[in-house]
């Protein structure tokens, strides 16, 4: 495989890992005002992701950094075209991060309520907007051969874009609920098991609708028709989605979470395989698509960066896995009593 193609799939992989790690943080944040009935419930939810979310968020930074390094033209055009939605995501992430750290600092209902709202918005907005943005990217963005954007932010909220947003929100809700079944006990755990099951019921028709709508709204299936073996990724995503429900019913919480992680991975790669070789397709003219071949860095940069990520990404995965292992047990009263707890 050419260097550019390797980088294309690495780029997709980094986004996929971001969605499957920070995805459950977003999901917990979205469920937060509804599932967290008491202050203790809420604190269990926050402390369930407390030790991990910061590291998860760096997958976004790395995905952004790698886009800059390997596909500078994509980085330039994508983020200047999607200026307003990206700014909204960034501000939402600012609020989420600060809210998690600051909520527990003062024992006052008004203080906590303010940060609670921001925790929800700071999780819901990125989940929705990443879905909207990626669906629009799948469908193509109106920019010309000079990288000049001809759309506007409201046009991103078209039916297909919104469907993508809804899909992301539901996927993350399922994933978040699954993580909470691992990190809680008793009645709370049952509550999240039910939330996961209910979310799943809504997610399935939305996912099917998205797969069908993609046929009409995007060029994604061209690659699948050319190489039918690719359909395996859709089969895998669907199978993982069903496993998520099955393991939930079996009370195999880890497996259920793993299955929803795999579902998110499969969904992301459904788009990535369909996009190839375009990273940022133009809806104005397919000849203006920014692809792995016309928007990449020089071979030297790609080689050096391949060396860098081949060394560091496995190391990161190793120590992050250790961190997950370290904090795999349900949040206990003792955990909540710690000074440092959220």
């Amino acid at each position: 495989m050419e260097l550019q193609s390797i980088w294309f799939f690495l780029w997709g992989l980094l986004w996929a890992i971001f969605f499957l790690t920070d995805g459950f943080d977003f999901g917990i944040g979205i469920l937060y005002p509804f599932a967290g009935k008491t202050d203790r419930d809420k604190r269990v939810m926050l402390n369930a992701k407390g030790p991990l979310w910061d590291g998860n968020e760096v997958w976004l930074i790395t995905a952004g950094g790698v886009t800059f390094a390997a596909f500078p033209k994509v980085y330039a055009t994508m983020f200047s075209s999607l200026y307003t939605p990206l700014m909204l995501i960034l501000f939402a992430l600012i609020f989420r991060g600060v809210a998690l750290h600051f909520r527990g600092k003062i024992e006052s209902p008004g203080w906590k309520k303010t940060w609670d709202t921001l925790i929800f918005l700071g999780s819901f907005m990125p989940a929705l907007l990443f879905g909207v943005a990626f669906a629009n990217i799948f469908a193509g963005i109106p920019f010309d051969n000079q990288g000049l954007y001809h759309g506007n932010t409201l046009k991103l909220l078209n039916p297909y874009g919104l469907l993508g947003g809804l899909l992301f929100v539901l996927l993350f809700m399922l994933h978040g609920a699954n993580w909470m079944t691992i990190k809680s006990t008793g009645e709370l755990q049952e509550r999240f098991a039910q939330i996961a099951a209910k979310t799943w019921m809504v997610l399935v028709p939305v996912a099917v609708a998205f797969l069908i709508a993609s046929f009409f709204a995007t060029r994604l299936y061209d690659n699948y028709i050319k190489s039918p073996a690719l359909f395996l990724v859709i089969v895998l995503a669907v199978a993982a989605l069903f496993c998520a429900r099955y393991f939930n019913a079996k009370k195999a919480w880890f497996k259920a979470w793993f299955a929803s992680a795999l579902t998110i991975m499969g969904c992301t790669f459904f788009g990535i395989f369909g996009l190839f070789p375009a990273l940022f397709p133009s809806s104005m003219n397919p000849a203006w698509d920014l692809t792995a071949f016309n928007a990449s860095s020089s071979p030297l940069t790609l080689k050096i960066m391949l060396g860098v990520v081949s060394i560091f990404i496995p190391i990161v995965i190793a120590y992050q896995s250790w961190a997950y292992h370290l904090f795999k047990d349900p949040v206990s009263d003792e955990d909540l009593d710690m000074d440092e707890a959220y």
């Binding site: 886009t67 994508m78 700014m87 600060v98 030297l300 940069t301 860098v308 560091f312 992050q320 961190a323």
Partner: protein, 436 residues
Amino acid sequence: MDPVFLSRLQFAAATMFHFLFVPLTLGLSILIAYMETRYAWSGDKNYLRMTKFWGKLFLINFALGVVTGITLEFQFGTNWSRYSEYVGDVFGSLLAIEASAAFFLESTFIGIWIFGWKKLSAKAHAVVMWLVAIAGISSAAWILIANGFMQHPVGYDIRNGRAELTDFLALITNKHGLLEIIHVLPASLLLGAFFIMGISAYHLLRKQHTEIFLKSFRIGLVVGLVTSLLTAFTGDLHGVNVSKTQPAKLAAMESHWETTTQAPLVMFAIPDETQEKNKIEIGAIPGLLSFLGFHDFNAEVIGLKDIPKQDRPPVLPIFIGFRTMVGLGTLLILLMIYGWIRRNKLMESPNYLKIMLWSIPLPYIAMEMGWVVSEVGRQPWIVYNLMRTSDAVSPIAGSQVMVSLTAFILVYGLLGAVGFYLIAKSVKEGPGAVTE
């Protein structure tokens, strides 16, 4: 509305706000790692209480540093897309390496540090703090290397209508970047030391928790004395390099208009950029500018008049910024020397303690001013002598930037106020009892 001006304003506001938190994160992480190490290996509970107290302040500061840093990486794409496209092949890789090699480590292990008190042994927990500190330093180093490229581009060739990487080793051993690293790191430790001494002084003046805060103050004093001198020394090295590679910046730093040998250093002046001279000049010391810039009293210093107008940076902010930085840096050294003399009589030196409490903002101002000199002094170039800032901006509407700039100012202003309030509150509460 001009998207160039607004984007510059936005980036300046966002970086300067971000940099209120970065040096304290760097400085405190090392000092806290040291305190925790003392606890883990000696079992002295006072060091544990110190670790927890300073750790609490550290984390409030850290949270703000992280969230304000995230937007910066993306602003190169949102607001400076022409720049990103033109130099991404060289510059982008440095940001990607920063994220994968340093920021991941820092963010993952800070979570383990916060929540891992009961999951890890005391020694392992201290090691985790060292990893956070090392990751933070290495993160800063990569960012400064990236900035070094903007200040003094090396390791590239213009090919295919853009700057392409030709020599990675030259890029990461860029002298300008390395000099920034050895200047910014001791300055960050100095800021961390002043933070610790100032807050310790607050409690020492009230004669509360004296054991803990005398210990903390003395750690700050040792570190502060060494790093205040080191910062001045590396700042001088940095200045000599700038004199050679960025003559326009040197001339603006001194509001120096005519090219002369034995160039004087002017203590005070009011630059007049339209008349190309100084309205008022007071206290010119002959030859001193030549000496500071080139370590030679007879060296020729290029004046602004010999630099084409379109290549000159704005003089006033750089002139004031440089004087403020150097003046404060000198003051910090004096405070450290005096503190060292009084190190065993701190409790009998309430005036000194009061001064130290009110000196907390000084290293902050000095560091921000240092960045004004460095970055405003780089203008009108985004990459020195390679790309102009005005050619680098994204093809976006000024109104879009106006909205995001307003949001930045409002949100950051609010967060800054909340952060300051929380830190002040934690300071007043003082160190808690420890049960472990």
